[in-house]
Amino acid sequence: MKTKTKIAAIILPAVLLFFLLFLLAGHSNWSLLNPKGPIAQQERNLMVVGISLMLIVVVPVFILLFTFAFKYREGNKAKYAPNQRHSTKFQLLLWAIPTVIILILAVINWKSTHQLDPFKPLISNVKPITIQVVSLPWKWLFIYPEQNIATVNFVEFPQTTPVNFQLTSDAAMNSFWIPQLGGQMYAMAGMSTQLHLMASAPGSFAGSAAEISGQGFSGMKFTAKAVTNSDFDSWVKSVQARRTPLGLAEYNKLAAPSSNNPPAFYSSTDKNLYNNIIMKYMMPTQGIQ
C-alpha cells in the first residue's frame, strides 16, 4: 500500500467510526457530559479544559507523525541525513513544551482538587440535608437522620439544597456514584466517608455501585430523585405514614445477601443505626449481626 493511501486508511475509518458511534450512542445518554448539579458541572469543565490543553501537544504529534512517515519514506527520495545530531537547545525545547503544559495542568489540578474535595461541604444559603448511606449486599440503604425515615435503592432530596452523604458499608467495599450529580466515593465497613452533592433542578438520576462487591453488584442500582421543597416535605410525610419501621430485626434481614431489590421505604429507624453499623466493626454491638 502507498503511504498516502495508508494514512487515509487510518484516518478515514477512525473518523467514520467516531461519527457512527456518536449516532449510535445518542448524545443525551452521555451522562458525564450532561451534568445536573454544580459538582458534576465543574468536573465536566475540568475534562474539557484538560483535553483542550493536551491537544496542544497531541495534534502536532499526529501531524508530524504522518507528515514524516509520508515525506521521508524510502521511495520519496527526500533529504537524508543519517548521522544528523540535534543540538542541546533542541532537546531542551522538547522537554520544555510538555513541562509548561503540565505545569499549567498542575496548577489546575491543585486548585480543582481542593475545590472539588468530596469531603468539603458545599457553600450555599440553603440548610443542607444529611443522608446516611449504607452499602449492603447488594443494595443501598439510605437513612435520613433528621426526618427519621429510611429507604432502599431510592433516594429523594430537595433540589438546590446541598446533600451531605455520609457513607459506610456493612459488607464488602463499594463505590457510591450518581454520575449526573458528581463523582464517586468509596463506602467501607468500619469507616465513614463523605460526599457532598447538589442537584440544580428537579429530575431523576441513575445511581450505581461502581466497585465490584460480589455476586449481585450489577443489580445494585438506585434512583436519585431531586424535587421541590414542598414535594420533598410531602414525600417525607407519606413515608412516615407508612407504618413500616426499620427495627433491628428488619435491619438484620435486610443486611443478608439479596439481589435486584426493588425500592423500599421505612417509616422510622433507630436514630443510632448508622453509628451502630460502623461501631460493630470496632466492638461487638448488641443486636446487629
Binding site: 504529534v61 541525513a81 503540565i102 472539588l116 474535595d117 467495599m173 465490584i212
Partner: protein, 657 residues
C-alpha cells in the same frame, strides 16, 4: 480422607459446563500432543534440547510459545466477557451466571498481565539482551531456567481449576479485600489466584535479578552504560522496577494468605484489619508494574525507528534520561488508583500532579522518535507499521490517562469502562504492539528466516482497526456512566449497541491474530525463500545483527570490542573486520533441576490451595533439596575448544557463502 486430600473432595471436581468443557479441551489437546511426540519419537530430543536447556535463546522461544498459548486463553475470556455484556440486557440475563462472569474477567486480567505480556517480554529479554550486550549467556543460567519453569508452573496453576475442580477468584484481577477474604470468598478461587501469582511472581523476581546483573556485569568490553542499545536501557529500567516492586507483591499476597489460611486479620473489616492497607500496597506494586511492561516496549520502538529510518536515534541521552525519569516517577504515583478512597485534597493533588508529570519524559521520548524519522529514509516493513500504529494509539491513550490524573475527573471516570479502555490502550497499543513489532523484528535473528510481510501487514491492519472499533465504544460507554465488570444492565441505558460494536472490533482483532498464526505457518513453509544468510536482514545497527542468524550456541565466536554507540553500524561503515583468533569457550550445561524445583513448588502451592498438609511439606522440602543439590554441583559447565569453534565458524561460512 481429609488428611490425605485436604479439602479436595469429589464434590469439588468439575461439574459446571464451562469447567467440564475446559477439562475436555485440555485433555484432548494434551493427548494429541503426547501422541504426536511419542509417534515422532521426540521426547528425548524435547527433554535434552529444549526443556532442560540453559541457553537463553531457547528459553526465550519457550517463553514466547507459552505466552502465545496464554494469549489464546485470555482472548477466549475476552470473547466470553463481550458475549455476556452484549446479551445480558433488560429481561435477558445472558448465558452465564454472575459468579462465572466474575471469574472470567478476573482470569482474563491476570492472564493477560502475568502470563501474556510478562511472558512475551521475558522471551524477548532472553532472546535479545545477551546478544545486544555482546554476551554469550546470562549471569545465572540455572536461575534462568528456574524462572522459566516457575512461570510455566504459574501458567498451569491459573488453568488448573478446569481439570482439578474448584473455581477461580471472582474478585477482579487484584483480589482486593475485603471481597477476597474468607468471609466473602470462602471457596478456593482466591487461593488459586494467590498461588499462581506467588509462583510466577517468584519467577519474575528471579528473572529480574538475573537480567539486572547480566546487564550490569556482562556487557562486552568497551560498552559503557551510555553506549548500550536503547532496548537494553529500558529493560534495565524495567528490571530495576521488578526488583523494587515484586517483593511488595509477594509480601502483600502473603499477608492475605495468612488472613485466609490462619485466620489472621491484616485486611479484614473487623478485629483491627484494614483493607485500605492492601489496596495501597498492591497498587504500589501495580502501578510500576505497568511500567515494567511498557518500558521495554519503548526500547523496542527506539531500536525499530532508528533501524527502519536508517538513521541514528535522535537525542539518545534525552531518551535515556526520559526512561530513567519514567522509572522514578512510576514509583511515586500509585495513589491515583484510589483517589476515591477519601485521602483528602492535599494527598490526592500531590499524587495527581506526580501522575501528570510522567507525561514530560514520555513526551520527550515521542518527540525524539519523531525527530529520528525526520530526514531519515524510512523503510516500511511491518515492525515500522506497528511503530506508527503505536504512536497514534498510545498518544490518545496517554491523553486519556493524564485526564484521570486530575482527581476531579477521576471521581467521574473511576471504575468505568473509560478506565478499562484507557489501560487497554496502554497495554495493547503500547506493550503488545511493541512485542509484536519486536517479535517480527527479531524473528529472523532467532530462526534464520524472515516472516511473511504481506500476512504481517494484514495482521497489523486487523489489529489496529479492530482495536479502535473495540475500545472507542468503551470510552464512550464510560462517558455514559457504564461501570466496569457488569454482568447485566438495563435496556434503557442505551449501552447495548456500543457493546455490540465493541464485539465486532474483537472479531476483527481475532482475524488479526489468525493472520499472525497463518503468517508463522506460511513463513515456516517458505523458509527457504525467506532465508536470512547475512544475519542482518534490516540493515541493523546493534551487535545482535553482527552475528549469523540463528546465532551459534555461544552467540559470539569472538567477544566484540565496543567503541561506538551503534557499533555494528559503525563497523559496516568502516568495513573493518576484526582478526579471527578463537579461544576456548565455556558454556553452561543443561540441567533438569529447574524443572524439578518448580515442580515441587507447584506441589506446595497446590497443597496450600486444598489444605493438604503432608503434600505442602513434601513440596517445600523437595524444592529446598533441589536448590541445595544444585548449589553443591561443581560440574555445571562444559568447554568448546578453540579449534572446535574455528571449525563451526568455518562450516557456517561455507554454508551461507
Amino acid at each position: 480422607m481429609s488428611i490425605l486430600f485436604g479439602k479436595l473432595t469429589l464434590a469439588a471436581l468439575p461439574h459446571e459446563w464451562f469447567t467440564i468443557a475446559g477439562t475436555i479441551f485440555i485433555t484432548i489437546m494434551g493427548i494429541a500432543v503426547v501422541a504426536f511426540l511419542t509417534h515422532k519419537k521426540l521426547w528425548k530430543w524435547l527433554w535434552k534440547e529444549w526443556l532442560t536447556s540453559t541457553d537463553p535463546k531457547k528459553i526465550g522461544i519457550m517463553y514466547i510459545i507459552v505466552a502465545s498459548l496464554m494469549l489464546f486463553r485470555g482472548a477466549i475470556d475476552a470473547g466470553m466477557i463481550w458475549l455476556q455484556q452484549s446479551l445480558s440486557v433488560g429481561v435477558s440475563n445472558g448465558y452465564i451466571s454472575p459468579n462465572h462472569f466474575q471469574q472470567i474477567f478476573t482470569a482474563h486480567g491476570d492472564i493477560m498481565i502475568f502470563f501474556v505480556t510478562m511472558g512475551f517480554l521475558a522471551g524477548l529479554w532472553n532472546l535479545i539482551l545477551p546478544l545486544q550486550i555482546g554476551s554469550r549467556d546470562v549471569a545465572f543460567p540455572f536461575l534462568n531456567t528456574l524462572s522459566l519453569w516457575l512461570y510455566i508452573a504459574g501458567a498451569i496453576f491459573v488453568n488448573l481449576f478446569f481439570v482439578l475442580g474448584g473455581e477461580f477468584a471472582a474478585t477482579g484481577w487484584l483480589a482486593l479485600p475485603p471481597l477476597s477474604e474468607l468471609q466473602f470468598s470462602p471457596g478456593v478461587g482466591v487461593d488459586y489466584w494467590i498461588w499462581s501469582l506467588q509462583i510466577s511472581g517468584l519467577g519474575t523476581l528471579l528473572g529480574g535479578i538475573n537480567f539486572l546483573v547480566t546487564i550490569l556485569k556482562m556487557r562486552a568490553p568497551g560498552m559503557t552504560l551510555m553506549k548500550m542499545p536503547m532496548f537494553v536501557w529500558t529493560s534495565l529500567c524495567s528490571m530495576v522496577l521488578v526488583v523494587s516492586i515484586f517483593p511488595i507483591l509477594a509480601a502483600t499476597i502473603a499477608l492475605l494468605t495468612l488472613d485466609r489460611f490462619m485466620g489472621m486479620h491484616f485486611f479484614t473489616t473487623s478485629f483491627g484489619g484494614n483493607p485500605m492497607m492492601y489496596i495501597s500496597l498492591i497498587w504500589s506494586w501495580g502501578h510500576p508494574e505497568v511500567y515494567v511492561l511498557i518500558l521495554p516496549a519503548y526500547g523496542i520502538y527506539s531500536e525499530i525507528v532508528a533501524t527502519f529510518s536508517q538513521k541514528r536515534l535522535s537525542g539518545y541521552g534525552s531518551v535515556v534520561a526520559g526512561s530513567i525519569g519514567i522509572t522514578l516517577l512510576a514509583l511515586l504515583v500509585w495513589l491515583h488508583h484510589f483517589f476515591t478512597m477519601g485521602a483528602g485534597a492535599d494527598v490526592n493533588a500531590f499524587f495527581g500532579i506526580m501522575t501528570m508529570f510522567i507525561t514530560v519524559p514520555t513526551a520527550a521520548l515521542v518527540f525524539n522518535w519523531l525527530a529520528t524519522m525526520y530526514k531519515g529514509r524510512i523503510r516500511f516493513f511491518t515492525p515500522m507499521d506497528w511503530f506508527v500504529g503505536f504512536v497514534f494509539t498510545f498518544t490518545l491513550g496517554g491523553m486519556a490517562g493524564v485526564l484521570m490524573g486530575i482527581p476531579g475527573v477521576d471521581f467521574q471516570v473511576h471504575n468505568t469502562l473509560y478506565l478499562v479502555a484507557h489501560f487497554h490502550t496502554m497495554i495493547i497499543g503500547g506493550a503488545l504492539f511493541g512485542i509484536f513489532a519486536g517479535i517480527t523484528y527479531w524473528f529472523p535473528k532467532a530462526t534464520g528466516f524472515t516472516l511473511n510481510e504481506r500476512l504481517g501487514r494484514y495482521a497489523f491492519w486487523c489489529w489496529i482497526i479492530g482495536f479502535f472499533a473495540s475500545f472507542v465504544p468503551l470510552y464512550i460507554l464510560g462517558f455514559m456512566g457504564a461501570t466496569r465488570r457488569l454482568d447485566h444492565y438495563e435496556a434503557s441505558t442505551g449501552w447495548q449497541p456500543l457493546f455490540i460494536v465493541a464485539g465486532v472490533g474483537l472479531i476483527i482483532i481475532a482475524c488479526g491474530a489468525l493472520f499472525q498464526v497463518l503468517q508463522i505457518i506460511v513463513s515456516i513453509k517458505q523458509r527457504k525463500q525467506n532465508i536470512d544468510k547475512t544475519g542482518d536482514p534490516w540493515n541493523g545497527r546493534t551487535l545482535e545483527w553482527a552475528i549469523p542468524s540463528p546465532p551459534p550456541v555461544y552467540n559470539f565466536a569472538i567477544i566484540p570490542k565496543v567503541t561506538e554507540r551503534d557499533q555494528f553500524w559503525a563497523d559496516k561503515a568502516s568495513k573493518q573486520t576484526a582478526k579471527q583468533v578463537y579461544e576456548d569457550i565455556h558454556m553452561p550445561k543443561n540441567t533438569a533441576l529447574g524443572i524439578y524445583t518448580s515442580g515441587f513448588i507447584f506441589l506446595f502451592g497446590f497443597a496450600m490451595v486444598w489444605h493438604i498438609v503432608w503434600l505442602a511439606i513434601v513440596g517445600l522440602l523437595g524444592a529446598i533439596s533441589c536448590v541445595i543439590i544444585r548449589s553443591f554441583d561443581e560440574d555445571t559447565e562444559y568447554v568448546i575448544p578453540a579449534d572446535e569453534v574455528a571449525k563451526m565458524e568455518a562450516e557456517r561460512k561455507s554454508f551461507y557463502g
